[in-house]
Subunit: 249 residues, 2 copies
């Protein structure tokens, strides 16, 4: 029996956003590995072992999955969103690089709907032009690099998507982010706070930068910032927000 | 009868990458609107009218969809990949802004797997850290803006995903792009050419920047460029490419 590891993206929350490719992999798996809330999205069945792990043990979790595959298991590492965007795929390949024998395994990454793009779809098309994705957590990189990237993204007039904007333990990062945006963008710049997109707790808030406050974000929020050309179309209910395709010379 | 417009992402090509949400919208539609090859991905059935249009008529196509919804039709505008990423969603909202009566319509965007993330998944996790998405076509923006963004993205050491790298009619843009990368990145920087991902014609090529040539890209290719920290894990067959989550101070 030949084992394999699939790193699969479950999307932002709704089952209707899980691709058939991912559903098929889950149906073929012998073992599911992942952070507790993501593993709990998988329906238990006979012959399937669920391995729940805590947050911040990504490398241990990756090694566990790879070792089970070496032993002949069919393992799906579940990730929210897209596994390649600030999620489990990089952690698995870090574990592979550290232990060359793992590189011979059958390892595949199955894409999913990442939170930034699900949030953009709910708001309209705010990322309809060039954009950057930045993880605001300074757990794994220095704040100076985050700030540098924010300033360069603003200078390039990219739209931006922010992951992990504000943890309970380190809320000051998003305060600093807003301060950088105030220095580099005009007060009317469009900011979208998209919380728990596609779940029952979904909440989308569209504000001007001058009205954005740190408490509008938490770890279940992605924040989108328009470019200088992003437009808001008012209407009954939430406005449509989009970034035009055309930029004049 | 109340009409609606859904702008739906069909993903990069494979049916297994179409979300159930999009499949449901297609099943409920009375009319499908889109660029010829995308409309042809929808299975004909009684009661469903397929409206194929040529490329570069996005605004006409958007207005047509919105007018049909005003007349009570259930319209799906099909896009490849994700409709919010260099695709049809921005065009629809441009048409809405130009004609305020359209803003009262039921308009929803359904996300899809965008080519950049499908390509990244095939290669490993090259976008596992902060990244930028840049459309290299200068049809709708000046080349100077593209070049500025390339230089800022390189300065910020973002990974990059390029859409529309090289059209048959204007192949010189990608020559210039490689020239900017040669000025701003080291010769060993990882470049991935991902053509027609998830289709029968899929081809993934991983090269060092010094070995990248313009003919490696065409309009069916997305190009991914790693950050300075992106790693290549050699193995039998295609290597794994990933960008580590951790960046030291």
């Amino acid at each position: 029996m030949t084992g394999w590891v699939v790193i699969a993206g479950l999307g932002p929350g709704a089952e209707a956003l899980v691709t058939p490719e991912v559903s098929d992999a889950l149906a073929q798996a012998t073992d599911i590995v992942g952070y507790i809330p993501y593993v709990r999205r998988v329906t238990p069945r006979p012959g399937l072992t669920l391995h729940e792990s805590d947050n911040r043990v990504e490398l241990d979790r990756a090694r566990h999955a790879l070792e089970m595959a070496q032993g002949g298991k069919s393992v799906v590492v579940v990730s929210s969103g897209d596994p390649g965007v600030f999620a489990m795929a990089a952690a698995v390949f870090e574990a592979v690089e550290a232990e060359p024998a793992f590189a011979a395994l059958d390892i595949r990454v199955l894409p999913g709907i990442t939170a930034m793009l699900a949030a953009a779809a709910r708001a309209g098309a705010p990322l309809g032009h060039d954009f950057c994705a930045i993880n605001l957590s300074d757990n794994l990189k220095p704040w100076a690099l985050i700030e540098k990237r924010l300033r360069l993204a603003a200078e390039g007039d990219f739209a931006m998507g922010f992951y992990n904007p504000r943890s309970a333990s380190r809320p000051e990062g998003f305060v600093r982010t807003l301060a950088v945006l105030h220095e580099t963008c005009e007060p009317e710049r469009v900011v979208i706070f998209a919380r728990a997109v596609s779940t029952a707790e979904e909440a989308i808030r569209v504000v001007a930068l001058k009205d954005a406050t740190p408490d509008m974000a938490d770890m279940r929020t992605v924040v989108l910032v328009g470019s200088s050309r992003t437009r808001v179309i008012p209407r009954d209910g939430a406005p449509f927000v989009y970034t035009p395709r055309f930029t004049p010379a």
